[in-house]
Subunit: 496 residues, 2 copies
């Protein structure tokens, strides 16, 4: 705790230098192992303004090959990231396997500062604490080394340092009004830091270092880093255990019990399509103005009609306000990061609609069935995905998930038609036929997915698509209803 932190005794300079030299060499030798074992390392340095966070980062990276680390700082997060969820800049910054990322302050500083400034409510603060814990656990369970350091100085020391900086024209600009405010409110910050560290130390512990002893802090940070990595290398890549959290789940039918006969006749289809598209277009305007982000997720059997369905939804939308994100096999730099990273970095901004053509649910379908991840990985994923989606809906997003459903006979008929129609042949590949053979295994996986991830805040909808027209109308109606409701609720909040 900061409030009973005891300042260290001054140490002998030469002995310290010798120690640092030694640990530096050990870190240097360790780098090859990090690369070989593809260990990703995330180091978060938080602490008081003027405590020396930047200098500490500089020392930590000084012996690392520049190809293997990155440094990021919320000070350089563009304002536009304010239009993304809280964790967005941090999840975006996670390192690739075999590399380091150093964060010069991060989720703690941004949360505490906003909270003390009353820019976020108590409820939002609590949510953030929960999200931070989820984030850190997900990284740990995904095999990341996460090291969190808090660099501490007392109020007098901060006074002296700020004064030194302000007195020199070359460094004066570094002291922001925020920093001076922090100094004024030192006591409140101290309590808030302690509270935050207490609430977020459960999964990944905090280490408080004495920033007034610069060299000793460097030595201590290097030792911590070396030891944490050494343990991780010795233990082999960590794979987190599955666990179940209590999400409010909706009951979903088994796929085999879904009645696929619903259909719509051509005239009614045209009429309904026109009406719903018109309404969707109006709602797009409204959600844009109310800055509500919308995330539409499409999964379904091959040839179920996802593409055509998406086109009917996209048609009435203003192209400036939506994106379709087709999800193919992960690229190397995506495979080299926690599996949700490539979705985090594709999120829409507030007021925008994002349509995912296939999604993060690949983790519990193709990756599960093809053995692209371990059993623990995909079993853990249900919960991680529920957390991810709750982070999105906490942010204010409308999240709707569609399983576009057909039966095996319909798929066979559509495959055959594609095969026999020259303009459609590109749509059918050998892989589609191979996947078809695994229909029973997929059905088990999809059923489990629907049971375990249809939360109240981000529900699944099974869309009967033997009749594609029926499927389109049903999907459009669900979207329109959800957006109406979201606009109403936004208005209610405005009126409160």
């Amino acid at each position: 705790m900061l409030k009973n932190f005891e300042r260290k005794k001054s140490e002998d300079k030469d002995a310290l230098n010798a120690e640092i030299k030694e640990i530096r060499e050990k870190l240097l030798a360790q780098q090859q192992l990090i690369r070989d074992q593809k260990l990703p390392v995330l180091v978060l340095i938080e602490g008081w303004a003027a405590a020396g966070k930047g200098t500490l980062v500089k020392e930590l990276i000084s012996e690392i090959d520049p190809r293997f680390y990155n440094v990021s700082s919320p000070a350089v997060v563009p304002e536009s990231e304010e239009r993304y969820p809280f964790l967005y800049p941090y999840f975006s910054a996670i390192p690739e396997n075999g590399k380091f990322m150093f964060l010069d302050s991060g989720w703690m500083e941004s949360t505490v500062r906003k909270y003390l400034r009353h820019e976020i409510t108590k409820e939002e603060y609590k949510r953030r604490v929960r999200q931070v814990n989820e984030f850190e656990r997900q990284l740990r369970d995904g095999g990341y080394v996460v090291l969190k350091i808090f660099l501490h100085i007392d109020k007098d020391e901060q006074f002296d340092r700020l004064q030194d900086l302000v007195d020199w024209p070359e460094t004066e600009w570094r002291v922001t009004p925020e920093d001076l405010w922090q100094h004024k409110e030192y006591k409140r910050f101290l309590e808030a830091y302690d509270e935050f560290m207490e609430k977020t130390g459960g999964c990944v512990p905090w280490h408080i270092l004495d920033g007034s002893r610069k060299k000793a802090a460097v030595r201590d940070a290097m030792k911590l880093l070396y030891t944490r990595i050494d343990q991780a290398l010795a233990a082999g890549r960590y794979v987190g255990e599955p666990f179940e959290e209590d999400f409010p789940l909706q009951k979903m039918p088994k796929l085999k019990d879904v009645d696929l006969s619903p259909a719509i006749d051509g005239e009614e289809y045209k009429k309904e399509l026109k009406k719903l598209q018109k309404r969707l277009s109006e709602l797009h305007n409204m959600i844009y103005r109310k800055k509500i982000p919308v995330i539409l997720c499409y999964e379904g059997w091959d040839a179920a009609g996802k593409g055509g369905n998406i086109r009917r939804v996209a048609y009435p939308l203003d192209p400036r306000g939506f994106d379709v994100r087709p999800i193919a096999s992960p690229l190397p730099h995506e495979l080299n990061r926690q599996y949700l990273w490539r979705f985090w970095t594709r999120l829409p901004r507030t007021g925008h609609i994002c349509i995912f053509d296939r999604t993060w649910y690949g983790r519990v379908m193709v990756e599960r069935l093809e053995g692209f991840c371990t059993e623990k990985d995909w079993q853990r994923a249900y919960n991680e995905i529920n957390e991810f989606e709750r982070q999105l809906t906490d942010w204010g997003a409308v999240v709707l998930k569609f399983w576009i459903h057909i039966d095996q006979e319909t798929q066979l008929a559509r495959f055959t038609e594609r095969q026999n129609t020259p303009e459609k042949q590109w749509k059918i590949t050998d892989e589609d036929w191979r996947n078809r053979e695994k229909w029973p295994q997929y059905e088990v996986a999809v059923d489990e997915m629907l049971q375990k991830t249809s939360t109240e805040n981000a529900p699944w909808y099974i869309i009967e698509s033997n009749d594609k027209k029926y499927a389109r109308i049903k999907t459009l109606r669900i979207i329109v209803d959800a957006l109406e409701k979201a606009c109403d609720e936004a208005f209610k909040r405005q009126m409160e």
Copy 2:
């Protein structure tokens, strides 16, 4: 020209609908060929406010599989992109091979608007015109289909449309003060649009469509798109011819004539290193405040000492204000775009330092020697790279390029040492030995590169690195001198 544009006669609605249906089907069938031949298609829609650009884009994409197009609009370019060069958002937006990108207004609107608002000078306007021509030619020469459409309406029509929009609460927000100002200044805009189109139609022509005839405009745009793509498919992927533009080049020695004996003794090295690093640290503060972007490019023989050199430059820098970008082999999504794309998207923001560990010069070295591009491609690249770097220095960047030079014997000695030192073995691969065998071919390519791309604004420096310490000091001194000069010049401009 807009000023003598003749409005089209109204056409029969049914006939038009039939035509649109027909061309739609042709476009649909064409998509497979675009994918097969991996043709990238960039469509720019410019035009008056309320002319119907968004609606036109919507019609053009309505039949395209959502996996194969993207829509972008400067309206959604975050403000943070203001801190990048003018072409940054447009170069970043170019499509992958086999895909479409639709831009809902772009480099024309942003240039004309800023010019008429006196936010950019006449000189900057001229530079932008030149840069646009370079950009479009580079895309064309790289095999891109670029289609530019201007959607025209006259002043009365614009009045009616703006009024319609303003009268409805759902659409009122779409009319910006900028749009109203444009309407007031209609005549000035008309002349400015004409001037811009005249000056940028040389390489990729403009097509003016009558926005007051909505259906006809859709038909015409679809026809243009279909025809341009059809021609490109028939001709096969276009590879631009090399050409020479008159850049002010500095005379460079041949590598074999470089005296590699310079060395520095250990004591002097320490003294100089400390002095130069201290000064660099101060200068980093200054360029940060003056918002000068700095781009340092490292190329050189394997084992020449690039990594250690970069570390000595990076050490005194504030980690929040610089990045090292290691350039490895291009990833699939990078290979699928014009070769400069992966560098454009890695540029620093103003005030930041970016160190490229290997660069775009791979085009005229490894890609040339390994046959990864055609002879015309790498021959054209000298000029394209000179243009690229001029675009960077026009923006205000300091661009310095270092060839870290050693002789063959030194390389052999260092390779052998790496091979025999367990901690260094990861640094040496079979590929390094293979590249070593190609030393003579590389030397020819490097000599040609140095001769053809050492411009006054972005010069090459040959860094003698048989003695690595000497090399580091020389590099640091060049950087320090260049940054001093840049700060002086920035101050002079401030005083003008």
